[in-house]
Each structure stands twice: as C-alpha cells, then as structure tokens.
C-alpha cells in the first residue's frame, strides 16, 4: 500500500463504509467511463455482470439469476483497480468528485420522476437545484433529458408529442422561474393547463430561434403568474361545492337555466387562505398594472379541442388599495372557475366526447400589454394570427401564408367577431393586398370602436376610435403607424409623427405599420417557426405596447379550423343523379348540411333585366326572402359578385342585412360570350361574410371536370310566388327551390375540402 493514498481512494474507502449504495452507483459510472475510454479489461468485468455468460442453465423464459451483493462489491473494487492502473489519479479524482456532485441532484430526478409529488416538494427541489452555482449544475445529458421530460409531464402534459418537442427547449432553470410565480394548493398535484402549456412551448421554441431571426430579437412574453389546475378543486372544497362537477351530466336546458345563479354562487365564495396568500405575492410582483385572468384548463388548447372562447378570460384594472385589488382579482378567478360549469363548454365537451374527463381549470394571470394614455390603458395594437388562411379575399392570396386579424387597442375585438366592426385583415405573404380598396370602402370597413381599460372607472370599456383620438390625441402609442386621415374623400397615412387632424377623420388602417414596420416579418416568422416545430398550423395572440419593434406573444395553440372542423371528407360514391354541383378552386374547409331552400338568381334572367331599377329589385327580393326563409337552412346562389355597390350589372346588390340569415353564399361565374366574370372574394361585404361566418364558395361551371346541374336550378318548380306573392314578376330571375319538395324528402349538403381544393353539393336523404 502506497504511503499517500490518492484522493479518490480516500473517498472510495469512506463510501464503502458509509454509503455502499452510492459507491455502487459511482462504480457503475466508472465502468462506463473506462469502457468509453476503450480500456479493454473492463469488458471482461462487465461480462461477469452478464448472466448469460455464466454457467447457469439459462433460458429467456425464466428470471435471470440474482448476483449476490459481495460479488457486486468485488466487481466495483476491480473496476477501481483497473482505473488505477490505466488512468491518472487526478483524472480519477476529478471524475469521482463530479459524479458525487451530480449525486446531489438525485433529489431532483427523484422528485420529478415520482408521480403525484406535491407542488411544494417539487418546487423546493427545482429551486434548490437552480440556486446552486452554475458550475455545479452540470447534469449528464441523459439525466438532463430525464428531468426535463419529467417536469414537463408533471406540469404540462402527458402528451408524447408535447414532451418530445419541448424537452429540447425547456431547462430546469425555466421551471424554477415559472414555479416561483406559481400559486396552488401546496400538497396538490395540479398541472398548469393547456393555455399555459401552449404559451410555454411557443415561448421556448421562439426564444431558441431568436439567434437566427432578426425579426424575433425583441419578442417577449408578458409577465405571467400561474394557478395550478387543482386550484379549482381547492376552491370547491373550501366552499363546500364538491357536488358541482356532477352538473355536467344534467340536462343542457337545465344547465343553461341555472348557470347565472351558479355563477353568482361562485363569485360570492372565497378562495382558501393559502391561495389568497399566493395571489397577494403575485399582486406585489405585478404592482398596479392591469391584468388579464385567463382560463387554462386541462382540455383547453389541445389538438382538436381548442375550446376557443368557451371559457372566460377577464380583465381586471388592478387599481386601488391592495385589498381592493386582491378582491377584484379573486372575483375574476371565481368567475373563470364558474365558466367550467357553463352551458356552452359543457355542450362543446359533450359534442366531442370529452364529458367524462375530469376537467380542471388552471389559470394564467398575465400583465396586460400596453401603456397608460390619459385615464386609459391600452396596447397600441393587438390581434390574432393563424398560419392557415381560411378567408382568402383574392385568388392571389395563398392559403398557407396565413392571416392576421389586427386591431388598435385591446385585442378582444380581433379575437371575437363583433359583427358591426371590422379588424384589418392581412395576409403576411401579400401584405399589400388589402380587403378594401377605395377610400370609401376602407372607411366603411374599418375598426370604429376601440376596447380599452379605463383606469378611473376600473372597467373594460369600448369607445369610438374618433373619441379616443380626440380625447387622448398624439399621446396614443404608435398613432402614426395605426391611423390614416380621411379628408375630402382622400385617405392619407401620416408622413411623420406630426399628425394633422384638423378637418379630417382618423381611420384605423395600419397603413404605415404594414407597409414599412417590422410587424409583418415578426408575425410571418413566428407563424413559420411555430408551425415547423410543432408540425401543425397554429393560432397565436399578440400585442404591442407602442414600441413597434417589440412584440408580445400572449397565447399559442393549434389552429382550429372554422367551426372546429379540422378536415372535411367529401363523401365517396354518391349517385351521379344526386350531385348538383362541384368546384375545384378557392375552397375552404366547411360542411353545410340540411339545406332546405336554394335561392337561385338565374344568370341569364338577371342579365336580361332591362332597367337598373329591376336589377335593384332583385336585391330587395333576396332581402325579403332572407327574412322569410328558415335561418341557416337556405343558401344563396347567383351570378357575379354579390353586394356590389358599384356597377349593379356585376352582381346582385345586397347589403349585409339582406343575407345575414343564409348559411352560404355561392357566386357563379358563368361564361359570358368570351370572358368569365371575376367574383367578389374580398370585395365589398366580404368582411361581413367573414364576421358572420357565412360560408363562401365560388363556382366556375364552365371549367372542365366540373359538375353543374343547371336544369336542377333552372327547371325545378319555383316557390317564389308562394313565399312572396308580390314578386311574381321576377319568377324568371329569382328561383326559390324547396329541396325536399323537388326531390322527395331530400336536403342538400355542400362539402368543402380545402386541403384537396374540392367541393361537392349533393342531395342527401335521412
């Protein structure tokens, strides 16, 4: 035995006496290390561990023999002997020391790996790890992956795709930062919910892409606190409302009737003292910035069930004394909790077979992006963007370029369809192609109202854009990027920040921002990167506080197709006699079934009308039919571009209220002499169609391979006279086909498969 034992030897000897299990793990690592360093002798040593190489009679179908402990010890000792012979002492010492340090993180891997470990415990472990000096935080790659995957599973999702994508991006430090802003029952094992998961994933993917994309350099996510999904269970328990979850099995009508009462019960209940303490910390962190309380349920934002707008998201102004602010926040949380039991989400779950799932509701408390202007708080602009454009207003726009719905002020007006107000629609691939062309159209189809938070009344308010500009004026963030000035029939975007409002009307156009600003590349790159990383189209929410170079990502989820329909299958093998028309250009995903009436404006009849007044009368007749026929059970078909305010010869002149009950508008481009008329796509009231979710389909009956059973539309008995006796003079022009009468007990259905650019209208029988 040498005079001076090397340091590693001292450690190994000590471990042998005090912690043989640890020594075994270190020894195993040493064997692996030697193997990697190509030390031959270790192979025979490893063979001794391999049962199949022993003399035991062995077959695959019986348990392998158990080695006795002393043999293991012997092997470990032998490993260190080989090491001592083959590598330098200081190297061995360095390795052993490092392994021992890693052993300190066993708490972390164990805590993460364990199922149902309480929030308090795992938070403590993660923080302990994060607090260690950076140099000490070196996990081996496999351990790193293990911990990451485990933490992801614990807080976000068991979904393998999710874990697979995100484990390459999220670090333990990220979790530490997140958990220091997480509130929940300390002994609970709740997750953070779908919305939190989606945002976290998107943030990590985009942050990793920052180095390659200039546009994303100033991308940020607003400060966010989380409440774990079992917070709602704690709330129900604390207020003795445990019977609530069973409500979902009740009769839908009953749920609808009882919900307003239930909501008040929730709002008059209290959060547990632990939760209140957590929220108090959150409020100290946020200060008096306005907040948004967003639902983040376990089911929300998962692929195929986006729950868009089903659960509540509520704004709180967060003004006043701490006590007032805390009360307002708790009240908003209770209301979001109540929305789990609301009739709409329950119906939505029932339709998707998700009713039996034990839904829990996590919550995101997010700083509202924006700044104070006078007594108001608002972002410069905000909106939503989709990587897949279902609403092409021009044949030149590519579906895969995506679409942005952009508004000034709070993004609520872009997220929801408000009916009589219009966000700016932009295709990031062709930002110059706007829906509205002439100054008059831009004026009419522009955003008239702006959503703001009034810090004095502490309320979420809607005011007209003009009023806001008049009241706050140039202080409004990025005003010159957002408005153009309408004056004397001309619309001009400001040349500088010196905006002259005299005699003009500010109109929200985003002219400057879209033409020159960094905004389009920001959104385009975000959509591209996210879609690439995730493998499916995404739907993001964003806002800008006034610094146009900086953009905040607020939310990211899989894009749900219109009506929640991901893809449409056109029924195969329909009888030829049942096919009414087909189309193969500019198709969006949609299915309209149970059509009972077709209002068909005969292209030739329309063309032959002698006077402008007669042409205008067709529009009026359509308007009357719209109010007489059963809502959503009829469709409109006719030549050219509907809703044209310009030349009436181009198509039936109707306004939005003349068509708002129809399920679908079909524009027929029948060849006239030698040209095919252009259809409306984006023109005129296209935005009304978008906002009202009226399906739109262009038909080109003269194209090869297209079905168009003209005789069905032009020969079937006309019901116009029966429905509108006054319109009998127009029977050659306006034809009302009652489908079940025309073809016994049939209704019409239109299947539109956007991915394959195919649409088919068929007769269906129950």
């Amino acid at each position: 035995m040498p005079q001076n034992k090397p340091e590693w030897q001292v450690i190994v000897d000590l471990l042998r006496d005090t912690n043989p299990a640890l020594l075994n793990r270190i020894g195993r690592k040493m064997m692996n290390y030697l193997f990697k360093r190509n030390v031959r002798q270790v192979e025979s040593l490893m063979k001794r561990l391999d049962a199949s190489s022993t003399d035991w009679e062995y077959s695959e179908n019986q348990p392998i023999p158990k080695l006795n402990l002393s043999l293991l010890e012997e092997i470990v000792d032998e490993a260190f002997r080989i090491a001592a012979r083959e590598i330098r002492d200081d190297e061995i010492t360095a390795m052993v020391t490092q392994w021992l340090k890693q052993e300190q993180f066993r708490f972390l891997t164990m805590a993460a790996e364990k199922r149902d470990v309480p929030l308090a415990e795992i938070t403590e472990s993660v923080h302990r790890f994060a607090r260690m000096p950076e140099i000490a935080r070196k996990l081996s790659p496999e351990e790193r992956t293990l911990v990451r995957a485990a933490l992801i599973r614990r807080f976000f999702s068991d979904d393998l795709h999710y874990i697979n994508v995100i484990k390459n991006y999220a670090t333990v430090e990220d979790f530490s930062a997140m958990l220091s802003r997480t509130v929940g029952p300390p002994q609970g094992n709740g997750k953070l919910g779908g919305k939190a998961a989606g945002l976290f994933r998107a943030e990590k993917i985009l942050m990793a892409a920052k180095k390659d994309y200039v546009s994303l350099r100033n991308l940020a996510v607003p400060k966010t606190w989380f409440i774990t999904s079992d917070g709602i269970l704690d709330f129900l328990h604390f207020n003795a409302l445990e019977e609530m979850p069973s409500i979902k099995y009740r009769d839908p009508a009953e749920i609808r009737q009882e919900f307003p009462f239930l909501e008040q019960v929730f709002k008059n209940s209290s959060l547990s003292p632990e939760m209140i303490a957590g929220l108090s910390l959150a409020l100290d962190d946020f200060g008096d910035r306005p907040l948004i309380v967003r639902s983040s349920s376990l089911l929300e934002d998962t692929l195929g069930a986006a729950f868009a707008g089903k659960y509540k998201s509520l704004f709180v102004a967060n003004q006043g004394t701490k006590r007032e602010r805390l009360e307002a926040l708790a009240d908003a949380i209770a209301e979001v909790y109540a929305s789990v039991f609301g009739p709409d989400p329950i119906e939505y779950r029932r339709e998707r077979g998700l009713l039996d799932f034990n839904e829990e509701m996590g919550i995101l408390i997010q700083e509202v992006v924006g700044r104070r202007c006078g007594k108001y708080f608002l972002p410069a602009y905000a909106g939503v963007a989709f990587s897949f454009n279902e609403f092409r207003w021009s044949p030149r726009i590519k579906r895969t370029d995506g679409i942005i719905r952009l508004v000034a002020g709070m993004g609520t007006r872009a997220v929801d369809r408000v009916g009589d107000d219009y966000p700016v629609l932009v295709s990031p691939g062709q930002p110059g192609l706007r829906v509205n062309a002439s100054p008059d159209e831009v004026l009419r189809y522009s955003q008239h109202n702006v959503d703001v938070i009034n810090l004095e009344t502490r309320r979420f308010e809607t005011m007209t854009a003009e009023q806001l500009v008049a009241e706050v004026g140039p202080e409004l963030p990025a005003l010159s990027q957002i408005v153009s000035i309408y004056r004397d029939g001309e619309l001009r975007s400001p040349t500088s920040n010196l905006i002259d409002l005299a005699g003009g009307v500010p109109v929200v156009t985003f002219a400057k921002l879209l033409a020159h600003g960094p905004f389009i590349p920001q959104i385009r790159d975000m959509l591209k990167i996210l879609q690439q990383a995730l493998g499916w189209p995404v739907d993001i929410e964003f806002a800008c506080d006034g610094d146009i170079h900086k953009l905040y990502l607020l939310q990211c989820r899989p894009q749900s197709q219109a009506g929640g329909r991901a893809s449409v299958e056109i029924p195969a093998n329909t009888a030829e006699a049942d096919r009414l028309f087909s189309a193969n250009r500019f198709i969006t995903n949609a299915v309209v079934r149970g059509i009972e009436y077709v209002v068909y404006v005969d292209p030739d009849g329309y063309d032959a009308l002698p006077t402008m007044d007669d042409l205008a009368q067709v529009g009026r007749i359509v308007g009357e039919l719209n109010s007489k026929l059963p809502r959503q059970k009829f469709i409109l078909m006719g030549p050219g571009r509907w809703g044209s305010r310009g030349d009436i010869k181009l198509g039936v002149r109707v306004g939005y209220s003349d068509i708002n009950n129809t399920a679908m508008l079909i524009e027929v481009a029948k060849k006239k002499k030698d040209y095919v008329p252009e259809l409306s796509f984006g023109t005129h009231f296209f935005q009304d169609l978008v906002e009202a979710d009226i399906k739109y389909l262009p038909l080109y009956p003269d194209e090869p391979g297209v079905v168009f059973r003209e005789e069905f539309f032009s020969q079937t008995p006309n019901q116009l006279r029966r429905i509108l006796p006054g319109a009998r003079n127009f029977e050659n022009v306006v034809r009302v086909i009652h489908v079940p009468k025309a073809v016994e007990d049939a209704t019409m259905a239109v299947y539109m498969d956007g991915e394959r650019e195919q649409a088919l209208a068929v007769l269906e029988r129950e």
Binding site: R396, A437, P439, D607, K649
Partner: protein, 428 residues
C-alpha cells in the same frame, strides 16, 4: 343574351339622335358626334409584388375636343366595356358644353380590380397607363380625373409619371388632386353650391323671393350638406333632409319646419352621412320614412341622393305648392316622372346642368395649375357662381324662347355648341 342587356353607348346615341333631330343637324355632324373622335387601346405590363409580370388592358376615349381639351375620369374596373366608356365620354362632352367651359369630353380606364392589387401594383398600373398615352393626353389635349375606384392618390402618381416623361411641371395634366399638390380649394362645396346657384336664378326668373321659400332636400351627403348651407344663407328655409341608415338598412327623412340646421345635424352625423335618429328627435326633428321628403309642403325639391328617386309613383305625391325641382343627383328623375312634372308646369333644372359645379371646379383646378397660381376659396366660389349662373341663364332663355322643357333645352344648347365648334373648325 348580350343583345338583350343594357348598352349604355346605344342609349347615349339614341339620346343624341333625338336631340340632333330637333336641332336639324346635318348628317356629317351627326356622324361625327354619334361616335368618339379617338379611341386608344393599349397594354400595360406591370411587375407584380411576387415578381411576375401581368399585362393589363388600358384605354382612353376622346369623344370630342372641338371646344377644348377632353375632360373625363379614369376608371379601374374589372368588367369595364368599351361601350360604357364611350357613352360616358359622350356625356362628358355635353356636360362640359352645357356649363360652357372650354373643354371636350373623354373617359378612360384600366380593366383591373384594385381589390386584388396592392398599392404598389396600382401605382405601377397608373404609371404604365401614362407611359402608353403620355403624348396623347396633356394640359392642352386631354385632362383625366378620378372616377370609379380611382382617387387623388392615383392622379398624383399619374401626374408624376407624366412630368417625368415631359421633363417639367405640368400639374394641369390631371385634376382631382389633393390640396397642396395641385388641388383646388372649393372642390368640396362646388357641387352643392352650384345646385343652389341654379335654384337662386330659377326662382329669380320665376319672380319668387328665395327668402320666402321652403325646400325639401333628399340626401345628406356632400351635395346636400353644402346646398342646404348656402340655401339657408340666402334666407330660404330647408324643411328636411334625408339619409341612409346603415343599421336599419333604410333611409329616413328628418323634418324641421322651422328650418334644418346642417351644422347642428353634422354634429350628430356619422362619417357615412347617417344621422343619429334619437339625437335628431331630441334636437326637435321629426323622423319620417325615407320617401317622405317628396311629400313635404314646399316650393322647391332638391333630389340629391340617388338615381330613379322621382318616379311616376313618387311624383304623384309631390306637394301642391312645388314650383321648382333642381336635380342635385345624377338621373334622379324617370321619364314617367318627367311627364308629370311637365304637366304640372313645375320648373326643372336638369342634373347635368344643376350638378355641373363639380366639373366646373375641376376646370378651375386645371386653369390654376396651368398658370401655377392658386385662388382663395372665395375666389373659386365666386367664379363658380358666375359660370353656373351664366350657364343657367342661357339654358333657361332658350327654353323660354322655344317653349322647351328645360332638360331638352339643356341638351340642345350643349349639342348645338359642340356642333358649332366643329363647324367653325371646318370639321364638318
């Protein structure tokens, strides 16, 4: 199919033929004026945003320039037909002639749909249009202006391209430009004021004191707003205006017997000209159905909204005291209504005379541009008054002398002047 459909040019020719017959024009003059002098058709290649090149069809029709440079709009329209453009160019010749401004008639455009074009692409079309016709238009040849789906911005691009080609400043090449880049003051007021100048002169000739009259206005757009304003300044009492209500999708008439105050109404009007019904009621206005304007007990009717408003049916509802109709809108009166109006002996100032204030102001814009000296708004409006008054007096004198309906007199005087110019030039 196409035969049965509406052909604007055929209609314009028929209308001309009727007047030519009354005037007893010789065959050569008829042949010349039935058709445009020149038609240009050309291709405009434009580099699109995606790098591809698309070729657009452009054209310009100069119907007649015997009285001066052709004048008329440029339309961007996907289904433009040359027949429509020829018809519109013809009507421009008559319109410029009836107000006796030294201009001829033209019209042009590009077959395109701005809805499917970015701004940059539209700029490309505008500049391309000019490049193809830069030597056939100009301040002393043919002066375009905005029309369907074109705006002041398009005009500026065109002017700029023209000036590059001709190496100089020629703001008079095009009108309808924004203020500050060759636009004229007074353009907003021009049409409405012109209507009231005609009304004032008509009443004077009829021996009626304008201060003792009441008038009903249909519409509350640009024309009506300024017409009401000036009529009040002259001491008349406007008892109603009407407007389209976007929410209800129908129009309403706002009546105040003591006199409509346009400034008061404008405060409660949205940017599309829709008046707030509740606030109007609070301000003492009676809110009636849209067609109630024509039933008011007034001396003067001013249809200044849409075409085909005074029909056989509605004309029957006119108040018994109506003595004068001034057409602010284009084509508000149908032929059946014209019959009733003639029978009742109501004096009529036809549209293309009454609403010629707009084109007259365009002419002023051109004049100011050519001398590069711009008048104040008062100067513009004073000159407008002189021009319109003079035009009106000449038409009414002819009507009186020949016992003609004013509409017929206006067409006759307009066509006569153009025929004279052609004759003097030795063309026919």
């Amino acid at each position: 199919m196409a035969d049965k459909s509406f052909n604007a040019f055929k209609m314009a020719q028929q209308q001309f033929d009727g007047v030519a017959e009354k005037l007893g024009l010789d065959q050569a003059t008829r042949d010349l004026l039935r058709n445009p002098l020149r038609e240009y058709h050309f291709s405009i290649p434009v580099r699109m945003d995606d790098g591809a090149v698309k070729v657009f069809q452009g054209y310009r029709v100069q119907h007649n320039d015997a009285r001066g440079p052709a004048k008329g709009g440029i339309r961007f329209h996907p289904q433009e037909t040359v027949d429509t453009v020829k018809a519109l160019a013809t009507w421009m010749t008559w319109k410029c002639s009836v107000v006796d401004i030294p201009l001829g008639g033209g019209k042009g455009g590009v077959i395109c749909d701005p809805h499917h074009l970015s701004e940059r692409e539209q700029e490309g079309i505008c500049r391309g249009w000019i490049r193809q016709i830069a030597y056939n238009i100009g301040p002393v040849q043919d002066v375009p202006a905005p029309d369907v789906m074109t705006s002041g911005q398009h005009m500026i691009w065109m002017m700029d391209e023209y000036e590059r080609i001709h190496n100089g400043k020629f703001p008079g090449v095009i009108t309808g430009k924004p203020l500050g880049v060759g636009g004229s003051l007074g353009r907003t007021e021009a049409t409405g004021y012109g209507v009231v100048y005609c009304m004032r002169e008509a009443l004077r000739e009829m021996g009626i004191d304008i201060k003792k009259t009441t008038a009903a206005f249909q519409g509350f757009g640009n024309v009506s707003q300024y017409a009401v304003k000036l009529y009040r300044e002259y001491g008349g009492t406007p008892v109603c205006v009407s407007c389209w209500d976007q929410t209800d999708q129908k129009s309403y008439t706002f009546v105040k017997k003591s006199g409509v105050d346009p400034d008061e109404l404008l405060k409660i009007t949205d940017r599309f000209g829709g008046i707030d019904k509740a606030k109007a009621k609070a301000a003492g206005y009676e809110v009636l159905p849209g067609d109630a304007w024509i039933e008011q007990d007034v001396e003067v009717l001013v249809p200044a909204a849409l075409e085909n408003q005074v029909t056989g049916e509605t004309a029957a509802k006119m108040g018994k005291n109506v003595k004068l109709i001034v057409e602010g809108a284009n084509g508000p009166t149908t032929p059946e209504a014209d019959k009733i109006i003639k029978e009742r002996g109501i004096f009529m100032v036809p549209d293309f005379l009454a609403n010629a204030g707009g084109v007259t102001c365009s002419y002023f814009e051109q004049v100011q541009c050519n001398m590069n000296y711009f008048w104040t708004k008062d100067e513009v409006l004073a000159k407008l008054d002189t021009k319109m008054t003079d035009a009106f007096l000449k038409v009414s004198a002819l009507a009186r002398e020949k016992k003609l309906y004013m509409r017929d007199a206006a067409y006759m005087i307009a066509i006569q002047r153009v025929a004279d110019a052609c004759k003097l030039r030795g063309w026919v």
